[in-house]
């Protein structure tokens, strides 16, 4: 069964009705890593938001099926429990909620849904210890408030840590590389690669090819004006890096005529 099947997806901004996604078709099979690239304003982040159920968008046409279930009918928390994970471009700071407590609450919400026994504080700490090593996360950060005062790199590592703990079937990475230096990028990407197990699917959203040197995709799609205008293998990313997005947009415009 396909992991994710997006068919003719149209979505608008709820507030003013502006259409951002204008007919997306995309299929992700288990174990595949798909990269979605595109210039600013092409709809990349909107796609990530709509798939994760962020309020503020309206799906006007099309369907999204996740492991055969209607993803769009689910609340954000149901999507998370079913196994969709979004690594945020801008992880939110939550003063007053300890990272440790937050992570355990999230893990247990997901475990409950999957019929697994909840982890007590001790068992959870053991799991946390193991997974924190994956992204070289210091213990001090686990006891601080969620993302509060974290550097850009620490926030993204915290996202990958959450991904590892929640064990999703599909991980969506929304511009995980933005604002990261090479070292931080290497650590975050290393964490993601460790989670590639041949079953989990990835949707990697990025503006730059750089991230794809570390997380090597099976497929690359180019998004332009709310549509996927070109798909290919990992070589397409290199071509984009060399030529920029202009040629694809011209090509797409020509084809549309």
């Amino acid at each position: 069964m396909n992991l994710l099947e997006i068919t003719n997806l149209h979505a608008s901004i709820e507030e003013d009705g502006t259409e951002i996604l204008k007919g997306i078709d995309l299929v992700i099979k288990p174990g595949e890593v798909h990269a979605v690239m595109g210039p600013n304003g092409s709809g990349k982040s909107t796609l990530a938001h709509v798939l994760s159920g962020r309020p503020g968008y309206m799906v006007t046409q099309g369907t999204v099926s996740f492991l055969g279930k209607d993803l769009l009918a689910m609340k954000p928390e149901e999507r998370a429990r079913e196994g969709v994970f979004l690594a945020f471009q801008y992880p939110v700071e939550i003063p007053g909620v300890s990272n440790n407590y937050f992570l355990r609450t999230a893990v247990n919400a997901v475990r409950r849904h999957r019929g697994l026994p909840e982890l007590d504080a001790m068992d959870f700490l053991q799991l946390l210890d193991e997974q924190a090593k994956l992204v070289e996360m210091e213990e001090a950060l686990l006891n601080r408030s969620v993302n509060e005062g974290f550097s850009g790199g620490e926030k993204k590592r915290n996202e990958v840590l959450q991904m590892a703990l929640l064990d999703p079937r599909l991980a969506i990475l929304d511009e995980t590389d933005s604002g990261l230096d090479i070292d931080a990028l290497r650590i975050a990407a290393g964490g993601v690669n460790a989670l590639r197990d041949g079953k989990r699917g990835f949707l990697v959203i990025t503006h730059y090819q750089r991230l794809l040197n570390y997380i090597v995709p099976d497929f690359v799609h180019v998004l332009s004006d709310g549509r996927i205008v070109k798909s290919g293998g990992k070589g397409l990313a290199l071509e984009l890096e060399a030529k920029g997005y202009g040629w694809i947009e011209t090509e797409a415009a020509t084809a549309a005529r």
Binding site: R54, P55, P76, E77, R79, R81, F88, P95, T105, A109
Partner: protein, 450 residues
């Protein structure tokens, strides 16, 4: 604006009750006069109306129109039983155990935990002091600002409360816990009122933590508490007030803090209970280099109105103050923060920072915020800020995207908002109680157990 016309309802009844009450008590002439003047002052002022600027958020009409009685002198077994049950339910029973504790039920002392304190540390019933050595508390009692209608009323019924006195250079080892229980368990025809008077005197270099807790069942009651705290040179006082009275209770509390040179106080107000609640604090920094920190967390759900009024009076040079008050309003709950910082002429190098933040959880909830700075001096550093908002939508989505239900996420974010104030309380068992009470107050907090 029309000239405020005081609320007259109930005033005559209260005056008669106070006269009868005072007639049954012995005492030196000054005490009799203090009570009698209190009756007269209250009879003259009445209850402040809504168009009195200082009382514009506090609707006292329901209070004025309810007749309250005084509990009979003898405490009944039913009252004792219910006070223990209430304490068990609210988690205050074992607090600071086996530390020193005075328990008052409807204004009468019913229990004191056995504890050994050095003779220079006094922790007893004010009524005892009034009987044995009234001259030792005269100066302080007479100094309370009787222009305040509820202080005048408190004077009129002056008798019981906690008396704390810490001798020079001494440190009270454990928090001194004063518990006030309101209950109608004695079966009196009218709901009951109590007018408690607490005195806290810290001599030079003395240190103490005083915890005042108010509990009650969900029935009509009226508590009018006045606490006067006097800090000698370099003294340190931490005062914690925990308001856990029932959902029909009226509560007016006044805390006055005065500071000699180098004295420092911290006040923590945590107000979760009551129908109409007013928490007032007046901190006077008249000693050079003195300081105060005022922290407050008030929560009002449907049917609750919780107002917090603070005045910080910088009357000496080099004094500093920090104030952080947070309000959480749900249902049709009402709240107000009215905080004034006065910097007197000559109070140079004053450092005053005031912050009020409020969180609104429903469309019907309402909060008024009125931060005020009154500066009569240059060479000071003062700041104030006030924000009122809803739960952050980004934070809410972030938590939901990690599998937390919307209800659990909202409760967690609300808890986090309030916990900043709770975390300022140093005494760990008091802090644990507050965390527990905040959690219990949260709307639909199931599944969230920080």
């Amino acid at each position: 604006m029309a000239r405020p016309v005081p609320i007259r309802d109930g005033v005559d009844v209260l005056a008669t009750q106070a006269e009868e009450f005072a007639a049954g008590l012995a005492g030196p002439p000054w005490l009799t006069k203090l009570r009698r003047d209190g009756v007269a002052a209250f009879a003259k002022s009445g209850f402040p109306p809504l168009n009195d600027e200082e009382w514009r958020y506090t609707n006292l009409l329901p209070l004025a129109r309810t007749v309250f009685g005084l509990a009979p002198r003898e405490v009944t077994i039913a009252e004792r039983t219910q006070s223990v049950e209430l304490e068990a339910r609210l988690g205050t029973l074992g607090l600071s155990s086996p530390g020193p504790r005075l328990v008052f039920v409807n204004g009468r002392l019913v229990r004191r935990t056995a504890h050994t304190l050095p003779p220079e540390i006094l922790f007893e019933n004010l009524a005892t002091a009034l009987r044995l050595a009234p001259e030792r508390v005269e100066k302080l009692l007479v100094a309370a600002p009787a222009a305040h209608p509820f202080v005048a009323l408190n004077n009129a019924f002056l008798d019981t409360g906690a008396l704390v006195r810490i001798g020079k250079g001494l440190v009270a080892p454990d928090p001194l816990v004063v518990l006030h229980v309101s209950t109608s368990a004695s079966g009196t025809p009218a709901p009951l009122m109590s007018h408690l008077r607490n005195l806290v005197v810290l001599e030079e270099n003395a240190q103490a933590t005083v915890v005042e807790i108010f509990v009650g069942a969900d029935e009509l009651s009226f508590t009018n508490a006045v606490t006067q705290a006097v800090l000698g040179e370099d003294a340190r006082l931490t005062h914690v007030k925990v308001q856990l009275e029932g959902r029909l209770a009226f509560h007016v509390g006044n805390l006055m803090l005065s500071h000699a040179k180098g004295a420092r106080s911290a006040s923590h107000v945590h107000s979760f209970g009551g129908a109409t609640v007013r928490n007032e604090i007046a901190a006077t920094l008249s000693g050079e280099g003195s300081g105060t920190e005022l922290y407050g967390l008030f929560a009002a759900a449907s049917g609750q109105q919780v107002d917090c009024h603070t005045v910080i009076d910088h009357a000496a040079p080099h004094a500093d103050s920090v104030e952080l008050y947070k309000g959480i309003l749900d249902g049709n709950g009402r709240g107000a923060f009215d905080g004034k910082v006065i910097v007197r002429a000559g109070a140079v190098k004053t450092d005053a920072r005031q912050t009020n933040r409020n969180m609104i959880l429903s469309n019907e909830a309402l909060v008024d915020s009125k931060p005020q700075l009154e500066i009569h001096n240059n060479d000071v550093r003062c700041s104030h800020g006030s924000t009122t908002g809803r739960i952050d939508a980004d934070a809410l989505f972030y938590l939901r995207s990690r599998g937390l239900s919307e209800t659990a996420a909202r409760a967690l974010l609300t808890y986090a908002f309030g916990s900043e104030v709770v975390s300022k309380v140093a005494a760990s068992d008091v802090r644990a109680l507050l965390e527990d009470r905040l959690h219990a107050w949260l709307p639909a907090a199931q599944g969230v157990t920080p």
